[in-house]
Symmetry: D3
Subunit: 319 residues, 6 copies
C-alpha cells in the first residue's frame, strides 16, 4: 500500500487509501507479527444493524493515530511488524454458521503463520469463531469490556447471536471462565440468566456500579490477578463505554465507562500474555460525528502498544 518514497504515518490525516493505522496492506502473513483484521459481519444482531460497515469507518478514523504513545512512549512499529491484512471474505453472508466458519478459517491461517490478530468488528458474534482458531492450544483467559455479558443461552431462538458468544466459548472449552473478567456490565434484561451463567461458572462480573465504586486501578489489579500468566484475549465492545462517547452502536446502554477509564484499563494490562484482541459493535450509521470509530481506533492503538510489547518479549524469550 505504501511507496518507499514516503511514510504514510506522517502524511496529512486525510490522505491515502485508508488502511488500519496507515499500516501497509499485505496478504503475505510471513512478514507480519501483528495483523489488523476487518470482520464486516452483522448477521447475528437482534437490535439495530450496521456493524458490517464498522471496519471501513474505523480504518478511516484510524488515520488520526500516530506512532509513539504519549504515556508509555511505546512505538509498536519499532517492536513488531504490523500490517492490515484486509477483511475476512464471506462465502454465504446470509448463513450465520457458514460465516462463522469463514472467520475461523481466516484466523487459522493467521495462527499457523504465528501472527497475533487485533480485529475490528462487526458484531460480537465474531469473537466465538475467532476463538475457535486461536484457542487451539487450550482455553483462553479474557478481559471483556461490555455493557452485556453476552452469555445468553439463546436469542431470537438462535444459539449463535451476538448475545451468546461467551456461553458457547465456555461450553466449547475455548474460554476459561475462571480466568475471565467482564467489566462495565449494566442494563435491564428479560431474564437474569445472562448474569447468572457467569456467576455459576466462576466468571468475575464487575457491574458498572462496582466499577465506579472500586475505581479503575483496583479493577486492573483484579483483572491482572484473574488472567494471570496464561494466554489471554481482550474483547472490547464499544457499548461498554457510555453512548455519549460511542453512540454508533446497536444496543447502547447509558451509564457506561468513560474513554479515560477504558484507556487506563487497557494500559493497565501491560505485560499480560496477550494472544488476540478485538474491538466490536461499531455501527457507523448511528454516529454522524464518527467519534465511535475514533474511540475504536484509539482502543485498537492502545491494545497494539501492549500487544507489540508482549509479542516482542515472547519472541526474544524464544531465542
Amino acid at each position: 500500500m505504501t511507496d518507499k518514497a514516503y511514510n504514510p504515518m506522517t502524511e496529512p490525516r486525510y490522505c491515502g487509501i485508508p488502511t488500519f493505522m496507515r499500516t501497509p496492506y499485505t496478504t503475505d502473513f510471513k512478514n507480519l507479527d501483528i495483523a489488523l483484521v476487518g470482520v464486516p459481519y452483522d448477521g447475528a444482531v437482534e437490535a439495530r444493524s450496521g456493524t458490517r460497515m464498522g471496519p471501513r469507518q474505523i480504518r478511516d478514523m484510524s488515520s488520526m493515530m500516530r506512532s509513539i504513545h504519549h504515556v508509555t512512549r511505546i512505538n509498536p512499529y519499532e517492536l513488531c511488524r504490523v500490517g492490515d491484512v484486509g477483511d475476512v471474505h464471506f462465502e454465504q453472508i446470509f448463513d450465520v454458521r457458514a460465516s462463522h466458519k469463514d472467520i475461523t478459517a481466516f484466523y487459522q491461517n493467521l495462527d499457523e503463520a504465528g501472527v497475533t490478530p487485533i480485529s475490528a468488528g462487526g458484531d460480537h458474534s465474531i469473537t466465538l469463531p475467532i476463538m475457535r482458531a486461536i484457542a487451539s492450544k487450550g482455553p483462553l483467559g479474557m478481559v471483556h469490556i461490555d455493557a452485556h455479558t453476552d452469555c445468553c443461552d439463546e436469542e431470537m431462538n438462535s444459539k449463535y447471536s451476538h448475545g451468546t458468544p461467551f456461553r458457547r466459548a465456555v461450553e466449547e472449552g475455548l474460554l476459561d471462565p475462571k480466568r475471565t473478567i467482564q467489566i462495565g456490565i449494566r442494563g435491564a434484561a428479560n431474564s437474569d440468566e445472562c448474569w447468572e451463567f457467569g456467576a455459576k461458572h466462576g466468571i468475575r462480573i464487575v457491574y458498572i456500579e462496582e466499577f465506579t465504586k472500586l475505581g479503575v486501578e483496583k479493577v486492573i489489579e483484579e483483572a491482572r490477578f484473574i488472567v494471570g500468566n496464561g494466554p489471554t484475549y481482550i474483547s472490547f465492545d464499544v457499548d461498554g463505554i457510555d453512548p455519549a462517547f460511542t453512540p454508533g452502536t446497536g444496543t447502547p446502554e447509558i451509564g457506561g465507562l468513560t474513554t479515560i477509564e477504558a484507556q487506563t484499563l487497557i494500559r493497565g494490562l501491560r505485560g499480560i500474555n496477550l494472544v488476540g484482541a478485538d474491538v466490536v459493535e461499531v455501527s457507523p450509521p448511528f454516529d454522524s460525528s464518527g467519534n465511535t470509530a475514533l474511540v475504536a481506533a484509539t482502543i485498537m492503538y492502545e491494545i497494539l502498544c501492549i500487544m507489540a510489547e508482549a509479542v516482542d518479549k515472547k519472541r526474544k524469550m524464544n531465542y
Copy 2:
C-alpha cells in the same frame, strides 16, 4: 388505538402513538378491507443494512398524511375499512427461509380473511413470501418500480436475497412475466443476467432512459395494457426514485424517477385489479431528514386511494 372521542386524523401531526396513516391498530382481521402491514426484515441484504427499521419510521412520517386526495378527491377511509395490523412476527430472524415462512403465514391469514394488504418493508426479499400467500389462485401481474430488476439467480451464493425475488416468483408460478412491467431500471451490474432473465421471459423492462424519452403518460398506458384486468400487484422499491428524494436506502442509484413521476404513475393505475402492494427498502439510518420515509408514506397513501376504489368496486360487484 383511538378513542371514540376524537379523530386521530385531525390531531396535530406529532401527537399519538404512530400507526400507519393514524388508522386504528387492530388484529381482528374480520373488520378490515385493507390492512397496512409492517415487515421489519433486512436479513437478505448484501449492501447497506437498516431496512429493518423502515416500518417504524414510515409509520411516524405517515402522520403527515390526511384523508382526501387533492387530485382524485378519493377519501379511502369512506370507501373501505383500513387498519394497521402491526408487524409480521419472526421466530428466527437469522434464518432467511424461516423468516420468509413467517411472512407467508401472516399474509395467508389476511388472505383468508379477505383483506387486501399494503406492506411497508423491509428489504425486497419480502415480496416473494407475500406473493406465496396472495397468489394462491394463480400468477399475478405486477407493476414494479425499482432501479434493479431483482431477477438475479443468486446473490452472495443465495437464491433468496433481495436481488432475486422476482426470478423465484416466476419460477414458482406466482408471477406471470408476460403481465409484468419493471420501471426505472438502471445502474451497472457485474453480469447481464439480471437484465436478460426478464427479456427472455417476456417481462417488459422500461429502463430509466426509455422512461424519460416516453414520458410517464405513455408508460402508464403500456403498464395498463400489460397487466390488463387480471389480479395485479404493485411493488415499489424506493430506490426506483432518485436518491436526492430517497437517500435512505441500501443500494441507491443516481438518475432515477422524480416523486412527481412516481405519484403520477400510481394514479395512472386507477381502476386496475389491485390485489396487493408494497413499498420497500426504506433504510432510516441513511436519511437524517426523514424524507425517504415521507416519500414511502405518500406512495402508500397514493396506492391506498386506488386500492380502496378497487376493493370497493369488487365488493359492490359481488353483491
Copy 3:
C-alpha cells in the same frame, strides 16, 4: 454593520457577522429603499415547529449571494439602498394575536418611511399581519407559491394558524382574491374547504399537476395577467418546492416545484408592481445540509432583483 474600509460582499463567504445578503444593518429607515426583515415567529404551527430559527440560518446562508444577477445582469444594490433592519421584536411570544400586532406595528413603521420589505419567516401566519400594515391603501394582488392554499377557516380551533392567513386577508379586505394566484398546491386534506374557498372567491389555483402540464412560461403569463398593474405581493412558502430541495420545513409535501422552476417564476414577474414579499416556513432543525436556507436566500435575492427595478422605476416616475 460594515466598515468603510472594505466591501463585505467581496469578503470570503464565511466571514463577518451575518446580515441578510451581507447588507449593512440599520434601524434608520430613512436611508433605505428596501428592507430585509427577519420575523422569527412559529407560534401558529400545528405540525413540526422550528421556523423561529429560520431568519438566522437564512442570514447565514445568504452570504453565498453576490451582487450581479447572471441572467438579467441586474445589480440591485446599484438601483436601491438595501439594508437589514433586524428582527421584529415580540412582547408576548406565547400569544398569537399580540405577536401579530407586534408584526403589524413594525411594518407600519417601514411603510410610513416608504420602505418596501422582503421578509424571512417564520411561519406563514406572519403574512397576515404584514399585509395589515402594507395594504393600507387597498387590497393587494398576490403571487403565492405553496403546497397549501392556507385558506382554511380554522386549524386546531384557531382562526389565526399558519393554515388560515389568506382566508383572513380576503375577509379583512387586505387581499383581492381575483388578483390572486396560488401555484404548486398539492397534498391530501381532511376537508376540501381549503381548496373550495379560493374557487368560490375567484382565486386562481394552479395545482402542481396543472403546473407540470402547462409549464412555467404559461403560468407566468397567467400570473402576470391576473395581478395586472395593481400593487402586488409575493408570498413564497418553501414547501411549495419539493422537499428534496427544501427538507427543512414543517409540513413537507412530496412532488413539488424544482428550484429552476421557482427561480424562473420569480424572474418572470419582472416589471410587476411589487410592494412587498416574503419567504417563509424555513425550519433549520430539519435540514442538516442547510440547503433549505440556501434556497430561501436565493429566492430572496431573485425577488430583490425584480423589486429593486420596480422601486427604482416608481421613484423615477415620481420625479
Copy 4:
C-alpha cells in the same frame, strides 16, 4: 396493542408499533396501576422549540428497555399493571392556559382512577397543570433535577412559560418548598430572582458545583431527608444532564450531571412515597443520534422500578 400470542418485550427492538416500554396501549384506566403518558406540548418555550416531538421519539427508543433491573432486580411489570395511555389531547394548542387545562383534566381522570403517572414531555410548563391534578390532597414534595430552577416570576411577559412552573406551584399551594430539592442548577441568568425565590422559600438548591463536591450519595441522603414520607413527585428535566449526553434539548447548559449520577440518584430514592413523575424537555430535532431520548427512556424505566415498588407497597398496606 399486543397479541396474546407473543410478548412484545422479547421481540427484536425495532419491531412493532412503539408504545412506551412496549407496554400495552390502553384507555381503560381501571386495569392500570401506573400510566405512561405523553404530553406533546412546547407552546411555552422561549428558546429552541421541538419538545412537542419528544413523546414519539422517547416511545421509539424505549423499545431498548427490558424488564428486570440489573442492580435492584426489580421487575416492575410483576409488581404493577403498567400501560401506555397515549397522549394528552389538546383542544387549542396555540393557547397556553387552555392547553394547561387539557393537561389537568387528563390527569384528574387518572387520579380519580387511582393510577400513578409517569409523563414524557413536552416542555417543563406541563408539570404545573399535572400537579394541579395530582396535588389535590395537599402540597407535594419534589426531587427536581434540572439546570434551571424554573422559578422565574415571568418569562417573555408570561407567568406560564417553561421557566416559571415551580414558582406558580408554590404560590398555588401545590408544592411544598420546604420539601423540595433542586439538583444540578447552573448557567448564567439575567436576574438572580430565579435563584433567590427558592432561597427565600426554603427550597434546597444543590448547584452542580456543590453536587460535584458532595458526591451523589450525600445528595441522595439529603434528598430523602427533605422529602421525608410525604407524597413526592420527581421532575426530571434532561438539561440537568450534560449536553454531551443529552444534546436534544432547547436550553442546554454545559457542565451537567453524568447519566451514571442521574441513574444513581433515582435509584437512591427507592422507598420514598412517589405519587408521580415526569421526564421533560426532550427535543428530538437537536439530537441526530437519539441518545437524548434513550436517556429519557432509561430514566423513565429507573423511575418506573422504584414507583412500582412504592405503588405495590401502598396497595399491600391498604389491604
Copy 5:
C-alpha cells in the same frame, strides 16, 4: 490490493479497503491504461473548505459501482487495465504554488507512462496543474460542467484560487478556448468579468437557462462539434449539478443540472478523443447522506466507460 482468490467487484459493497471502483491499488504505472487518482487538496478555496476529504469518501462510495454499463453495455475493465494509483503526495500543503507543482509532477509521471488519468478532487484549482502535465503536446479542448466559469482573474488577491484555473490555462496555452464549452453556468457574481472572459476568447458558455431550453441532446451535439477530434478533457465540478443531488460542496448554487442530465451528457460524449478527466469539489462534511460522493463516483464510472473505449480504440489504431 486484491487476492487472486476472489474478485473484489463481486464482494458485498461494504467489504475491503476502499480503492476507487474496487480496482487494484498499484504504483507500477507500466501495467495501467487508465489511472484513478486522488487529489486531496483544498488550499485554494475562498468559501467553505473540506474537499481535501473528497477522495476518501468518493473511494468509499465507489464500491457501489459495478462493471457492465446498463445502457452501453461497456465493461471498461475488459477494454483497459484500470487501477487506483493512490493520492498525489504534497510536500508543502500550505503553499498553493508548491502544491500545484507536486500535482504537475505526479501527472507527468503518468503521462510519460502513457496512462490516462481520471482524477477525484480536491478543489477546482487542481485542474490547472493537471493540464500543465497533460497538455504537453498542445492545448486541449474541454467539456466543462460547472455552476461557475472559473475564469476570474483574481480571487482574494490570488491568481491561483479555485475560481481562476481556466483563465490561467488559456493564458498558459494549455486550453484552447475555441474548443471549450462550459455547461450549467449560473449564480450571481460581484463582477461580470468571470463571464466576459469566455465571451471574449471564444469559449461557448451554456448557462443553465439555455441548457434547459435547448435540452441535453442539442447541447451534446454542440459540445461534440466544438471539441471535434482533438484531444479533449472533461472537467466536472459537482456544483454544476443541483445541490439537492450534491449538497456536499463548498459553493452550492441552486437551480442546477439533474443527475440524469449529467449522465446523459457524459454518455453523449462517447467517441471523443478523451485524454483526461476530473470530478472535483466534493466536500464530505456538508453531506451527511454521502449522496454527493455517490454522484461523483458514478460520474467517474460513466467517464471511465467512454474513456476505456477511447483508449482501447487509440491503442488498436496504433497497431
Copy 6:
C-alpha cells in the same frame, strides 16, 4: 446593533443578528474595555479543515449566554464595556504569513486603544500573530488547555502550522516558557519533540493522566503559582476537552477534560493578570448538534467574567 428600546440579552435566544454574547457590534474601539473578536482562519491546518466557520457558529450559540454568573455572581457587563468588533479582515487568505500579519495588525489597533481581546478561532496558528501584537511590552505567561503542546518545530514542512505556534512564540520572545503551563496533553505523536521542547525550556506540561490524578484544584493552584502576577494569556483549544463534548474539531483526541473540569479551571484563575485569551479550533461541519460551539461560547463567557474583574481592577488601580 441594538435599539435603545430593548435589551438584546433578554430577547428570545433565536432572535436578532448574532453577535458574540449579543453584545453591540462596534468598530469604535475607544468605547470598549473588552473586545470579542472573530478570527475565521484555517489556512494552517494539516488535518480536517473547517475552523474558518467557527466564529459564526460560536456567535450563533453564544445567544444562549446571559449576564450574571451563577457561581461568582459576576456580571461582566456591569464591570466593563464589552463589544463584538467583528472579524479580522484578510487580504491574502491563501498565504499563511500574510494572513498572520493581518491578524497582528488588527490586534495592534486593539492594543493601542487599550482594549483587551477574547478571540474565537480559527485554527491554533492564530495565537502567534495575536501574541505578536499583545506581548509588545514583554513575554507573556500562559495557561494553555489543549490535547497537543503545539510546540512542534515543523509540520508539513512549515514553521507556521497550527502545531507550532508556541515554539515560535518562545523563540520570538513573546511567551515566557517558565510562566507557561499546558493542561490536558495527550495522544500519540510521530516524534517526541513536541513534548520535549517544553520539558527543555521549562514549560510545565500536565498530561491528562496527571491531571486526573491531581484533580482540578491542585492544577489550578499550580497554574496560579506558575503564571504569578505577570501578564498572562489563556489559550483554550476545544480539543483539550473530550470529543464527546466537543466533536466539532479537526484533530480530536479521546480521553480529555470534561466541561465541568474546564469551567472550574477557568474560574480558578480568577484574579490573575489576564491580558488576552482565545478559544480556538471549533470546526462546525463536524458537529451537527452545535454543542462544540456552545462549549466554546460558554468558555468565552467564563473567561469574560474573570477578565472583566481583572480589567476593572486594573482600571481602578490606575486612578
